[in-house]
């Protein structure tokens, strides 16, 4: 009897380890309360309460520099000023003159149209006097053949990476720094290619700025040997200029560009949504004024951030991981949809957070794409920014 009892107990314990209570439901008999209902509703942004603000990131603060040869019907050029190169080097506590053997200039290609072959970077000597206020017109006279010091071919196999050119011998005169420039070398970067295109060049703010390297030889007495040194200088300042200035229309929503623009869009969700809905999908739908343009194979990404408090252009934004939806802006797209359910969830419940978001572009101030969307000021309601919500209201649990 003992083993029987033990066996029964063991069987009970083993069989009871796992419950399985899921059965097929035949509605309505076995569906108390019915079945969940999903509602789909479109909410247009609050009329007149959407705006664009410009100036968040200036070209000289951009993580990459733009250079193009008419990609969007106009040219853009990068400008780089390197740190000053001293005319002597300290060796054994003594400043010693040196002889330049060669000079190398390195640029990081952050992105380019990888479907296009034969792309070249054109390097021009500039006076090191430009700054963040410089315009395309102001520097344009320097972009002439007489100032061209080098043409750097971008290998067709290179999608991104470093390109380099070296000056030796007689070519060193092209990068000779005049005494009036106080040791500062300044360059302008243009693009040449079989067809209009653009290149994003690494910049100081992105940690991948150009490098100016000088290889020198010093004759140090008492040692009887020549000392070889490498003087590597990073950019002290860099920026880029566009042939066509950026123009903003206050009746439209700008995103991106340089200085970069962001757009604030406000929505008014009804209490039945804010208080008790379970949102399963939220799609922000925007209509570009023109099809999205940009550099093929290097699309920008559109980001939406919920704002924590509505103080206009300087509204603090939510940056929680997973709550910042983003999506690629496809070149040629005539509508833009951004899945934003995790963002909209931040608006729900007993929160004082405003139902508003800020659109921005990444890489900011560093993209050839600059979308302009219709705002709520457009006459056709179908073109206005809108939020499409799929949601469930509270399930009507049967009682009982």
């Amino acid at each position: 009897m003992k083993w029987v009892t033990g066996g029964i107990l063991a069987a009970l314990v083993l069989s009871g380890c796992q419950e399985k209570l899921t059965a097929p439901a035949d509605c309505p008999a076995l569906c108390p309360g019915g079945q969940p209902q999903v509602y789909d509703e479109v909410f247009t942004a609050i009329p007149g309460a959407d705006s664009s603000y410009t100036g968040y990131l200036q070209p000289h603060q951009a993580p990459t520099l733009l250079a193009s040869n008419g990609l969007q019907g106009f040219e853009q050029r990068a400008l780089v000023r390197f740190l000053a190169r001293a005319d002597s080097v300290s060796v054994r506590d003594t400043l010693r003159a040196y002889t330049i053997d060669s000079v190398a200039l390195s640029f990081t290609i952050a992105a380019r149209d990888t479907t296009l072959d034969g792309v070249q970077l054109l390097l021009y000597r500039l006076a090191p006097t430009f700054d963040s206020a410089s315009t395309f017109a102001a520097v344009a006279p320097a972009f002439v053949p007489e100032s061209l010091i080098a043409t750097v071919s971008v290998p067709d196999t290179l999608n991104s990476g470093v390109v380099r050119t070296v000056f030796q011998g007689a070519d060193l005169s092209r990068v000779q720094i005049a005494a009036a420039d106080s040791g500062k070398l300044a360059l302008g970067v243009g693009v040449a290619a079989p067809s209009p295109t653009g290149v994003r060049v690494g910049a100081l703010a992105g940690g991948s700025g150009p490098i100016f390297t000088t290889y020198v030889t010093m004759d140090v007495p008492d040692t009887g040997t020549a000392k070889l040194r490498t003087l590597a200088l990073s950019a002290a300042f860099n920026t880029y200029v566009s042939e066509v200035p950026q123009i903003s229309d206050s009746t439209l929503l700008d995103v991106g560009g340089a200085p970069s623009a962001r757009s604030l869009i406000r929505f008014d969700l009804p209490p039945r949504i804010r208080d008790s809905a379970t949102i399963v999908r939220a799609t922000l739908e925007l209509t570009p004024v023109e099809p999205i343009t940009g550099l093929p194979t290097d699309p920008a990404r559109l980001l939406a951030r919920a704002i924590l408090a509505d103080v206009g252009a300087k509204s603090p934004v939510n940056t929680l991981v997973g709550r910042v939806p983003e999506d690629t802006l496809e070149i040629g797209a005539t509508t833009v949809s951004l899945e934003a359910v995790r963002l909209v969830e931040l608006w729900l419940g007993s929160t004082s957070r405003p139902s508003a978001l800020i659109l921005s572009l990444t890489p900011e101030a560093s993209s050839f794409t600059r979308p302009v969307f219709y705002s709520t000021r457009v006459a056709d309601p179908a073109l206005r920014p809108r939020l499409r919500l799929s949601y469930l209201l509270s399930f009507p649990f049967e009682t009982p």
Partner: protein
């Protein structure tokens, strides 16, 4: 040993068994519990009104002679069929806990018990295609409930001479249903939704019972019970009340031989009192139920009746909460069981196996219940 082998074989038979969980407990307050100890379950509940370890009749406590505690574990395996499909299910419950003992200075006994009043443990799954944003979309829904109503009884009985015993009990009926509705979309663009709610219940009831012994071999037992109503709260907000039934039971017990004990009983419950309340809350309603059971206990050694007796019985009952308006579900069950006392009868184990069949129109289920009772008499 032969009987033990039979028990073991029954255990291994691939069958279907039901615990308290049932698709017939989806509506209303759930699937009704039986407040029976395992030794009564073995004979299909036929001895329930005479069993001191069960909680049906407070007068039955009069037979308690030593402090006794008993715990019941029930493992159920069910096969469910309905127009949407079929499934094999299993679950474990602890439907009965009891502590009772005599009062030394009086011909009386008191007891506390914790019984399953109704059970609403289920998960129901459906799949369908809906049209959303102009696109057909497959969705899977599950609706689940965990919980039920419990019956905490404080009861006492008093022996009136050698033949009569009377008892009364006070019942606290409480519990909750933790409800969850989940929808999962096939398209990953949609998040799944999960909504929860909790129903809680509170109520009180009273019961009285009588037992009459007619000579050494025949006895009658009767009980009546009123459970009043339960207050129903949804997420802490009162949403209404539901009337609970009056219950009436009558049982008889006959010992034609020293080795054989026969019993039969019937119970009637006026669940229709809850009908209007349930309908007002959007439910399907409720109907009166009756239950009849008959069983026997055979022991090979009349001097030691606690040593592996063979119990068996059958029962039939109607169910209170319909799935489809106008219909009423019913169940039929066959039971077999045994038990053993050891440690100088200070401890015991009872086993009951029950095969049940339930149906209501196109809805049916069959199942196999293994109930194990552990009793201690310190």
């Amino acid at each position: 040993m032969g009987r033990a082998m039979l028990v073991l074989l029954l255990l291994l038979v691939p069958g279907l068994l039901t615990a308290q969980s049932s698709q017939f407990g989806v509506r209303g307050l759930g699937f009704p519990g039986r407040a029976l100890a395992v030794r009564s379950l073995g004979s299909a509940g036929a001895f329930g009104l005479f069993d001191s370890e069960s909680s049906q009749n407070p007068a039955a406590l009069a037979t308690v002679v030593v402090l006794t505690s008993e715990l019941t574990i029930t493992q159920g395996f069910r096969s469910v069929e309905n127009p949407a499909g079929s499934a094999s299910l299993r679950g474990t419950r602890f439907p009965q806990l009891m502590v009772a003992g005599p009062i030394r200075t009086l011909p009386a006994a008191v007891g506390f018990s914790f019984s399953n009043y109704t059970s609403r443990d289920f998960t129901l799954a459906t799949t369908q295609t809906i049209d959303l944003r102009g696109v057909p979309l497959s969705v899977s829904d599950t609706f689940s409930s965990r919980g039920g109503l419990n019956d905490f009884r404080i009861a006492g009985s008093y022996r009136l001479g050698d033949r009569w015993a009377a008892g009364a009990g006070f019942h606290i009926i409480s519990g909750s249903n933790r409800l969850t509705s989940t929808r999962v979309f096939d398209d990953p663009s949609y998040l799944s939704s999960r909504q929860r709610s909790e129903l809680s219940f509170t109520g009180v009831g009273v019961s009285v019972g009588l037992t009459r012994q007619f000579g050494p071999n025949f006895a009658l037992s009767a009980m009546g019970r009123s459970d009043g109503h339960v207050n129903v709260d949804l997420d802490s907000a009162r949403v209404g009340t539901v009337d609970l039934p009056y219950s009436f039971g009558l049982g008889l017990r006959w010992r034609p031989a020293a080795t054989l004990d026969l019993a039969a009983q019937t119970m009637v419950r006026t669940w229709s009192g809850a009908n209007s309340d349930l309908l007002a809350m959007g439910g399907v309603g409720a109907q009166n139920t009756f239950e009849v059971s008959a069983g026997a206990e055979y022991t090979s050694d009349p001097r030691r009746p606690y040593r592996r007796p063979l119990r068996f019985g059958a029962r039939y009952a109607t169910l209170p909460f319909s799935l489809v308006p106008g219909q009423q579900g019913h169940e039929f069950g066959l039971s077999v069981g045994s038990g053993v006392r050891f440690a100088q009868q200070r401890a015991g184990v009872d086993l009951a196996l029950e095969q049940v069949w339930r149906s209501e129109g196109a809805y049916s289920e069959s199942g196999f219940l293994i109930s194990l009772g552990v009793s201690v008499r310190p």
